[in-house]
C-alpha cells in the first residue's frame, strides 16, 4: 500500500490547519456561508438534511486496518456510531458538527487519509477494480498508476476550478468491476504484443441527467505518457465546456456535442504539445510508487482444498469468495447488504472486526467496492473458515454478492438534500421480499441500483434493474429501468413506462423477475434474457 512521504504528510497537515482557520472564521462570522461553502466542499464537507456530512476519500478503494480503525473511531467519537460506504469507494458520515470537522480531518491525517477533492469541481477520488493486485484476470496491478494520477491531479492549479467534477476509474482486468465506461475518463491497462504496458482510454462517460457511455478514444497509450494524455483531455474540456449551463458542463456533453472523433482529434493535437514538452513524471517516480504496491509475501506450497463440511460456510464460499492469482489464496467479499438493512452502512464495531480480520488474515489490506461492499483481498484458503466465523458473529456473513439483494442504493431522501425520493426503504423492501436465498440463487446475477434523484449516485442507469426516485407533486414516485450494465458488457438502462409508488415498484420488480424465470433460456442471466427478447414481454408483465 502507498505510504505518505514527508511531502504528502506536510500537504495534508497544512490543509487541515488551513481548514481549521477557515472554520473558525466562519463560526466567528468573518466568512459568510456563500464564502465558506466552496471552502468546506473542497474538504468534503456538505450540509445535508439533518447535519453536516463528511465524505472521506479512500483512494482506489484501498485501506489498511489502521485506517479502518480510525474510521471506526471517528464514527464513534464524532458521529453516531456508523458510516456509509459510497459508490465511489468513499465513506460518508452523516452527523458531523462543523466545529468538530477540523479535528476529524486532523485525526484522519494521522493515518494518511483526508477528504480533499471528495466534492466540488475537481478531480474526484479515483476509483479502481476492488480486486486489483489480487485477481488472476489482470495484467498488472493498476493502482500505482491510480496513485500517480491522484498525486498529479491533487491541488494542480489548472484542475482546481474545473467546469464540473471529473471522475476517473481504472482497471487492468478483462472483467470490468470498476464501471470504467461510465466515467469521465476510464482507463484499462493493457499489454501490447511487444510486451509493453499501455492504456485503453475511454472518455466522456457519465450518469446523471444525461447518461453516456464513454467511447474509446485511444486503444493504446504508452503507460508512461498517461499524465500528458490526461492533461490534454482535461484541457480540451476545460477550454470548451459550457460553463454557462449547469446541465451541460460535464465532459460527456462536450464529447457528445463535438463527436468522439473531433474530441479525440483535439485531444491528440493538445497531447502532441505535452509530448514535446515531456510533462510526464520520470519513470523513477512511477517505480518509487509502484514499490509500495509490490505483492505481499505470499506463502508457497499452500493447499487449495477447503473443508466444506459446514453447509453455511460452503454457501458463503460459493458466493462470496473469488479466485486469487496466488495458489492457496482467495479473495473474500464482505456483504454490507443484510436483508432489510441499509446498503453500505457499517457500524464502528463491525469496522473494527473487519480491520482485525484484514490485519490477521489479509496482509493488512482491505478494499471498498463501488457496489458498497468490502473485500479482504488476500486470504489463505486455509483461513477462510475462521474469517467466515468472525464475519458471521459480526453480522457480516450475508451470502448475496451480485444477487437480487446486493442492491446499490444512494442515501436518498433520508439524508440527501438533493433527493426527490427515498432510496433506502425501497432497497430494504426489495431485499426483504426476495430474502429467500434459494430464490435469490435461482434468479442468479442481478444488479439492482437505486438513485433518489437524477444525479444517479446510485448508478440506476447501469442497473440490470434501475430505479430512479422522482417527486410527483410532493409524493415519492419511482421510475423503473431495465437493461443497464456497468460491467464489460456495458449498456444504459431504459425506462419501462409510467412510475410507481414504493410498494408498486417492488411489485413491478417481482413481475419482471417472474417473467424472466418464465422466459429465460438455460444458463441465461436476467440481463441476457432482456437483451435477447427485448423490453416488450417485461412491459406486458408489469403493465399488462
Amino acid at each position: 500500500m502507498y505510504r505518505y512521504d514527508q511531502y504528502d504528510q506536510a500537504i495534508v497537515d497544512a490543509r487541515v490547519e488551513e481548514f481549521r482557520d477557515q472554520t473558525a472564521r466562519r463560526i466567528a462570522g468573518e466568512l459568510t456561508e456563500d464564502q465558506f461553502k466552496p471552502l468546506r466542499l473542497k474538504n468534503g464537507l456538505y450540509l445535508q438534511l439533518h447535519a453536516y456530512m463528511l465524505r472521506v476519500a479512500i483512494p482506489y478503494g484501498t485501506l489498511d486496518s489502521r485506517q479502518m480503525r480510525m474510521l471506526a473511531e471517528i464514527a464513534r467519537k464524532y458521529d453516531r456510531g456508523y458510516g456509509h460506504f459510497t459508490t465511489r469507494q468513499n465513506i460518508q458520515y452523516n452527523w458531523i458538527k462543523l466545529e468538530q470537522a477540523p479535528d476529524i480531518l486532523a485525526d484522519l491525517a494521522t493515518v494518511e487519509m483526508h477528504a480533499i477533492q471528495t466534492s466540488g469541481e475537481s478531480v474526484r477520488n479515483i476509483s479502481a477494480d476492488q480486486y486489483a493486485g489480487a485477481t488472476a484476470d489482470e495484467i498488472a496491478d493498476p493502482r500505482p498508476w491510480a496513485e500517480l494520477l491522484r498525486q498529479v491531479t491533487t491541488f494542480m492549479p489548472e484542475f482546481s476550478y474545473l467546469p464540473r467534477k471529473f471522475k476517473f476509474a481504472i482497471t487492468a482486468a478483462d472483467s470490468d468491476r470498476a464501471a470504467i465506461r461510465w466515467h469521465d475518463c476510464g482507463l484499462r491497462l493493457v499489454r501490447n504484443e511487444a510486451g509493453e504496458d499501455g492504456f485503453e482510454v475511454y472518455a466522456g462517460g457519465g450518469m446523471g441527467r444525461t447518461p453516456m457511455i464513454a467511447p474509446l478514444i485511444r486503444s493504446f497509450l504508452p503507460a508512461d505518457q498517461l499524465f500528458g494524455y490526461v492533461q490534454a483531455i482535461l484541457r480540451v474540456w476545460n477550454r470548451h465546456a459550457r460553463r454557462d449551463n449547469i446541465h451541460k458542463q460535464r465532459m460527456k456533453i462536450l464529447v457528445h456535442e463535438l463527436g468522439a472523433e473531433e474530441f479525440t482529434r483535439q485531444v491528440e493535437e493538445e497531447f502532441a504539445g505535452f509530448e514535446a514538452r515531456d510533462v510526464d513524471p520520470p519513470r523513477a517516480e512511477y517505480d518509487r510508487i509502484a514499490a509500495y504496491f509490490a505483492p505481499p509475501p505470499f506463502e508457497t506450497g499452500l493447499p487449495d482444498e477447503i473443508d466444506r463440511s459446514d453447509p453455511d460456510f460452503a454457501l458463503w464460499l460459493d458466493r462470496q469468495v473469488a479466485p486469487h492469482k496466488a495458489p492457496g489464496y482467495a479473495i473474500a467479499n464482505i456483504s454490507l447488504k443484510p436483508v432489510g438493512g441499509i446498503p453500505g452502512d457499517i457500524s464502528a464495531e463491525q469496522m473494527e472486526v473487519v480491520a482485525d480480520l484484514a490485519e490477521r488474515y489479509s496482509f493488512d489490506e482491505l478494499r471498498a467496492t463501488h457496489a458498497q461492499n468490502l473485500v479482504l483481498p488476500h486470504v489463505r484458503k486455509a483461513d477462510l473458515y475462521a474469517v467466515w466465523q468472525a464475519l458471521d458473529a459480526a453480522g457480516l456473513a450475508d451470502v448475496n454478492l451480485d444477487l437480487v439483494s446486493d442492491i446499490i442504493a444512494c442515501p436518498g431522501l433520508d439524508y440527501c438534500s438533493l433527493a426527490n425520493a427515498r432510496s433506502i426503504p425501497l432497497a430494504q423492501k426489495i431485499s426483504t421480499r426476495f430474502a429467500d436465498i434459494d430464490r435469490q440463487r435461482d434468479l442468479g446475477e442481478l444488479k439492482i441500483k437505486i438513485s433518489g434523484c437524477i444525479n444517479a449516485c446510485g448508478h440506476h442507469h447501469a442497473g440490470h434493474i434501475g430505479i430512479l426516485g422522482v417527486d410527483r407533486k410532493g409524493t415519492e414516485n419511482y421510475q423503473l429501468l431495465l437493461g443497464g450494465s456497468g460491467a464489460e458488457d456495458v449498456s444504459a438502462a431504459k425506462i419501462t413506462g409510467p412510475g410507481f409508488d414504493e410498494d408498486g415498484v417492488v411489485d413491478a420488480i417481482e413481475k419482471t423477475l417472474d417473467a424472466y424465470v418464465r422466459l429465460r433460456d438455460p444458463g441465461e442471466r436476467f440481463l441476457d434474457t432482456y437483451r435477447r427478447i427485448g423490453v416488450e414481454p417485461f412491459k406486458e408483465a408489469i403493465y399488462g
Binding site: 439533518h50 458538527k97 431522501l413 427515498r422
Partner: protein
C-alpha cells in the same frame, strides 16, 4: 402557514424558528407569515444558522406539519433509522412523515 427552518451553524442540527429563538422541535415552530425571509437573513448574518429557508406547513393539534415530505423528514430524522430520530420511542412517527 409558513415556517422558517435552518441548520444550526455549529452543529448542523435542523432547527425551527420559534418567534424568539431556534428549537430542535417542529412543534415549537411559529407561523412566520411574510417575515420569514427577513428573519432568515438576519439570523444568518448573526451566524446562528446556515441554509435558512421558508417552507409551507399545515397547522395541527400536535403542532405544525410541514407540507413536503422532505421537510417532515428534516423535522424528524431519517425514516430508516428510527433510533436516531427525535422521537425514537414513538411508533406513530412513521405515519406522520409519510
Amino acid at each position: 402557514m409558513k415556517l422558517l427552518l435552518g441548520n444550526d451553524l455549529k452543529t448542523g442540527a435542523v432547527v425551527w424558528w420559534t418567534g424568539r429563538d431556534w428549537s430542535l422541535h417542529v412543534e415549537d415552530a411559529m407561523d412566520v407569515g411574510e417575515h420569514g425571509e427577513t428573519i432568515a437573513r438576519a439570523e444568518e448574518a448573526a451566524c446562528r444558522v446556515a441554509g435558512a429557508a421558508v417552507i409551507d406547513a399545515e397547522p395541527g393539534e400536535a403542532g405544525p406539519r410541514p407540507a413536503h415530505i422532505k421537510d417532515r423528514i428534516r423535522a424528524l430524522g431519517p425514516t430508516v433509522r428510527p433510533d436516531l430520530t427525535l422521537k425514537p420511542a414513538d411508533p406513530s412517527v412513521g405515519s406522520w412523515v409519510i
